[in-house]
């Protein structure tokens, strides 16, 4: 038993250490993130002041980088729930060490994604009109519009994923509450909702957590399906495809898991939690990347197959333009990033090299961002009337907002790391207590 208590102590110690005063690197990173957010805010203010002309958009390409960013961040948001909820339901024990980071990432990514539908409006100050609310003019929203579905999907997802994160935090926050003082104690007291750790509370907690997991799981599928309908419901060749929902969901998981890898690899080092988040965890995540990458590759192929098989000629022409037209370099970069590079994960050695996974995660996310850009821009660029064909090049303002979205995301994420436990203390302890139930806890013990 002494080993068990030693392990428990180690877990507490590690997590506490991570909560301590940040090092120089932490503050530099936080300053960079806030600075980037500032650049984004300034860029958006230009759009508000001078109009959408600050972007590179035009007729026919009326959507560009901002919508790309939107879909990208919604995609990032997906893996969090997937890793946490779905793997929880499947009782995949390896999730324990990583799920908190993934959940936090989800919440912050949805919070980032949710900004874009507002930012990209011509009149963002009327953004709330997209929500159904009673008003004296009896104006209502158009439920046939995918953008309304989007508003519902994103807000639901934000609420559910926040609740999911917070409900998982309750026992941990209580543990921290009892070990800290001052404003932190008050914060943890609030988050812990008066948790005392009684049996009944544990019973309710595990029920509630299961409920949220079950509730969040279909959202993973539905939210990104809804986002894909923004495109699939239209009549734009290159968008109008029944393939889109599964294709988008797979893409979202690919980019989300890749993002988790990119975040986890430096994090486990920086926070000194390599014993908690082990190479085996990384290996399993990278297998998920490999699987979704193969699905995405299949979807790319299917687009061409469907267009060749029965689609109207414009459909094929749009795809050919995507592959060989003005944006061809972006297309082939995307193919390399999303289809070719992840094939390296077939090699166990790569899967066991954290630094390789870190870079591969970045490569995949560059690819996934380009995928969304290709879908959004190339289809509009060569729409049905050739006389109106045009090209689009993002402006500095749009790139500034994109940078700002990363700043915004990482600001939240870095603050989260210092405020709340990045790994679940309670669940890790549970593992230690029941070594026969999983392999992970043993690994922790060995590592210790």
């Amino acid at each position: 038993m002494s080993t068990v208590s030693a392990q428990l102590a180690l877990i507490e110690e590690r997590v506490h250490a991570a909560q301590g005063k940040g090092g120089r690197l932490y503050w530099v990173l936080l300053a960079c993130a806030i600075g980037a957010t500032g650049i984004g805010a300034y860029s958006w203010s230009r759009i508000i002041r001078f109009g959408m002309g600050e972007t590179g958009l035009n007729r026919p390409v009326a959507w560009g980088v901002l919508i790309t960013d939107f879909v990208f961040w919604v995609g990032i948001a997906h893996s969090g729930t997937l890793i946490s909820a779905i793997l929880f339901l499947f009782r995949a024990r390896f999730r324990t060490a990583v799920y908190r980071v993934a959940e936090a990432m989800t919440v912050f990514a949805v919070a980032t994604a949710g900004l874009f539908p507002i930012i990209h409006l011509g009149r963002p100050w009327f953004g709330y009109w997209i929500l159904p609310y009673p008003n004296e003019r009896s104006l209502w929203i158009n439920f046939r519009s995918p953008l309304v579905w989007d508003a519902f999907a994103i807000s639901t997802y934000l609420v559910v994923s926040s609740l999911f994160l917070l409900s998982g935090l309750v026992p941990d926050a209580a543990a921290l509450r009892d070990a800290t003082s001052g404003w932190r104690r008050r914060l943890y007291a609030m988050v812990s909702l008066g948790w005392r750790g009684t049996d009944e509370e544990w019973r309710h907690h595990s029920r509630a957590y299961l409920f949220f997991a079950a509730f969040a799981t279909p959202l993973v599928i539905s939210v990104h399906s809804v986002v894909s309908w923004d495109f699939a419901v239209s009549v734009v060749p290159g968008w109008h495809s029944t393939l889109f929902p599964p294709y988008f969901v797979a893409g979202a998981i690919l980019s989300g898991v890749a993002m988790v890898l990119t975040l986890l690899v430096p994090l486990r080092r920086a926070l000194g939690i390599e014993e908690l988040v082990t190479r085996r965890h990384l290996d399993l995540l990278s297998r998920l990347v490999l699987l979704t990458s193969l699905i995405v590759t299949f979807s790319y192929g299917m687009e061409f197959v469907l267009a060749l098989w029965r689609g109207p000629r414009v459909e094929l022409e749009t795809l050919l333009f995507r592959a060989f037209g003005s944006y061809a370099p972006l297309f082939w970069t995307m193919v390399f990033c999303n289809c070719a590079a992840p094939l390296l994960l077939f090699f166990p050695r790569i899967r066991n090299t954290p630094i390789a996974l870190f870079f591969l995660g970045i490569v995949v996310n560059v690819g996934m961002w380009l995928e969304r850009f290709n879908i959004v821009v190339t289809s509009l660029s060569h729409n049905r009337i050739p006389f109106d064909w045009g090209t689009y090049r993002p402006s500095l303002v749009e790139l500034g907002i994109t940078l700002g979205s990363f700043g915004w995301f990482f600001t939240w994420f870095l603050v989260f790391l210092k405020l709340l436990p990045a790994v679940s203390i309670a669940e890790l302890k549970e593992e230690v207590g029941h070594p026969h139930e999983g392999v992970d806890a043993t690994e922790v013990a060995h590592a210790a």
């Binding site: 959408m52 002309g53 007729r59 026919p60 409006l121 011509g122 009109w129 239209s234 009549v235 045009g390």
Partner: protein
Amino acid sequence: MSGAGIGRRFFLKVLGATGVAAGCSPTHAPEKLIPLLVPPQDMVPGKPLFYRTVCRECSAGCGVTARSREGRIVKLEGNPEEPTSGGALCARGQAALQELYAPDRFRGPLLRNAEGRLSPVSWEIALGKLTEAVRGASPDGVRLRTRSEPGTAGAIQRVFLAALGVPPDHREVVPGRDEKSLRAASTLLYGRSELPRYDLSLARSVAAFGADFAETWLSPVELGRGFASGRGLPESQRTTLAWVGPRLGTTGAVADRWIACRPGGEEDVALLLLRWIVDPANHVEGLDPQAAPVRTALAGFDPRAAARRAGIPLEQVAQLGSDLTSRRPSAILGSHTPELAALLLLANHLLGNVGRTVSFGQDSLLESYAQPAPGKAQVLLLHHADPSEGDAGVPLVVSFSSRPDAASDRSHLVLPDHHWLESFGDLEVRKGVLAVAQPTMAPLYETRSASDVLLQIGKSLGLKGLPPGDAQSISRKRVSARAAELGAMRPDGEHGLFMRGVASAPAAPEARPLVGSSVPALLSAIPAAPREPALFAFPTALAAADPRAPSWLREVPDAISGICWSSWVELSPRDAAAIGARDGDLLAVGNAQLPLSVYAGLRDGVVAVPANAPELPGLRGKALSLRRISPGRLPRIPGAQDDAGRDLLPTAAAVAAREEHHHGHEHGLDKGIGHEHPPEEHPYGMRPPPSHPVHRWAMAIDLDRCTGCQACVVACYAENNIPVNGAEAAAQGRNQAWLRIQRSIEAAGTDVKVAFLPSLCQQCDRAPCEPVCPVYATYHTSEGLNAMVYNRCIGTRYCSNNCPYDARVFNWQDPVFPSPLDLQLNPDVTVRSKGVMEKCTFCVQRIRGAENEAKSERRNLIDGEVVPACAQTCAARAITFGDLEDSAARINRVRQDPRGYRLLEELATGPAVTYLARGGKS
């Protein structure tokens, strides 16, 4: 209580004082805000008033109906009672409003100061200066150069000069280029300097030798309308057009045949045509007896050498000849040089066209274009005429320009004239057709009519023989007298005359005997062989290249090249490749730098530049060296050159074949574009088609009639308050036109086809833009319109993405209407702000206006009562608009035309716009 704050008495005092102050407005009230046409009590705020006047943008003199709202003219339209315009107006006429409200208009007289800059002075000083100069000059030293003024203004000029004792040849009238050659030609052939009148509505075949009659040549509205009346008909009755010239302009683009001769080779082609006509081997029947001397004179003519000089295959002449002789009456137009004009007039004469499509005895002949007297002037008055090289040393150059132009640049004194929309006048556009001009609004600035200036100076000098009264009363008297003389005065008197804007008793065509003596000399002169590369200046209806043109004419792109806000140089694809230049590159042409537009409709070896390019004068008469400098940025509307094989512009034959193919097959979705038809039983998918209980507005556009002149586009800008966004925005794809003329250039070797497609919102039955809007900012009205609620729009731009016709435009920034251009804004149409979507509304304000009027008169709408701005101004009458629910409406008949097709019909959007395919060989 009264110690603090405002007491009752003090309040009343302030109230009284403010009232008095408001009553005594310090600025003087304009003299006549509403001229005599309508009594002032008729001016109801919100209701337009209409005034008839005459357009003076070119020498054609089209009648104009000016729509006034609260004392400001907001829109110009043609005058349907006047035979020249026939109710239509060209792009330039539409844009005249922007000359009126031009921000750079002169606010008052200007005098060039010691630094060489024009600075404002009072009228007293300015007139005093001119009076002194005239007094000090010898009678021989006063000269006046004027645009053609066949009316009161011209008469006053003549009387003034006569009273001064100035010889008549000191008044130089500057004729249009086309007019000058035609007068010279008729002098040569008929012995009289007379302008023939062309009536293309009678012609069954037309050959235009560089005469862009639908854009700028002579009287484009009248000629374009006449020509189009023979288009859109079955092949046997359809008027054919052959275009002779090195470049296909917009008029050339609608031609059925293109003879791409070298620049300057037109005379050779004309000689070849004459020879073909008189050649007995060709058995041309019904030739004029004068054919025999022509045959004799052409005996020594070498057709092969001529064809070589012109750079054309000889067979093309035979094809042209058989067109013109088998489909008679024909009309042959052209006037680059007096010789060319004479040769073509002779051809017309031989074919018996004179007296039918080409008629004499119509020229009002009020102006004489005598050669100006030699000698130096001391005082030169420029009345809307440009200075010339010889004016360099003149001590006092006075211009009556109302805006900065070439004349004001060279003048010492500027006495700004009223804009023609602010002045009285009259114009006998042709014999028996007296167009009456009246002010349509009070002058915006301290301008004075040039005629009044002359009269006033005459008075100050104490000249004898000047008519009493001012220009207005003289003009009115003259108009009434001339109308009475024509027998065109009706019982409603002068009031009726101004109401109609025209007194018309057209003179009958007169026969003219050919004076044969000059023919042999004309025919024996061998035209000089053209050199290569040859500079070719092509006229354009718009003015992208002209930095001083109104902004609408610069914003609306050239129909062929899609270029706006810039001058450019055109080369054929082969010539461009030869110097290693690509489309859009910056070229050094002679000593000018011009961006290159590669155009397949241009003959090899020709360097083409728009005629209104400021660089053009510097290029003339010099060796043309061409060199690529760098890749440049050509302000051009983005888009593909052609329809990329998507069959958006089928010919009538192709549409018929498509119909047949469709009927021969089971319905269902075929593969490929243009051959797909929606399944017939459920053209609208799961949902029932929308119901239109009262009206269903629809449009038909006859592509066989459309000449690509773009008057409709400019009219749309004027009517719908469309902002002008400039060159950079255009190149970026942010031109905001609701109606655009798309063009397709298909080139296969020398066979070049250019076609136009006016594209606008199709007001679909099942518009894809509607369901995707999250806030119902766009929806289908019960009248079939795809309505746009600007107030509700939040700017997601999804509708724009989802519109398969790309009909929607977004406000990328707040629109700017530099003062006083904002006075032109149509108060019936919202000025949109940044961040909202907009598009063609079928001029919903006009529909509502007509509906309300009908309702207040307790009657139904009459077919043709609602006319959108584009259809209204179309000289070719290519656009039909009406209510599909009215079974008797013309639109229902037009839509049944077998040439009819709808764009992207396979999408089952149910567009309300039907296109009638162009005829001719496919």
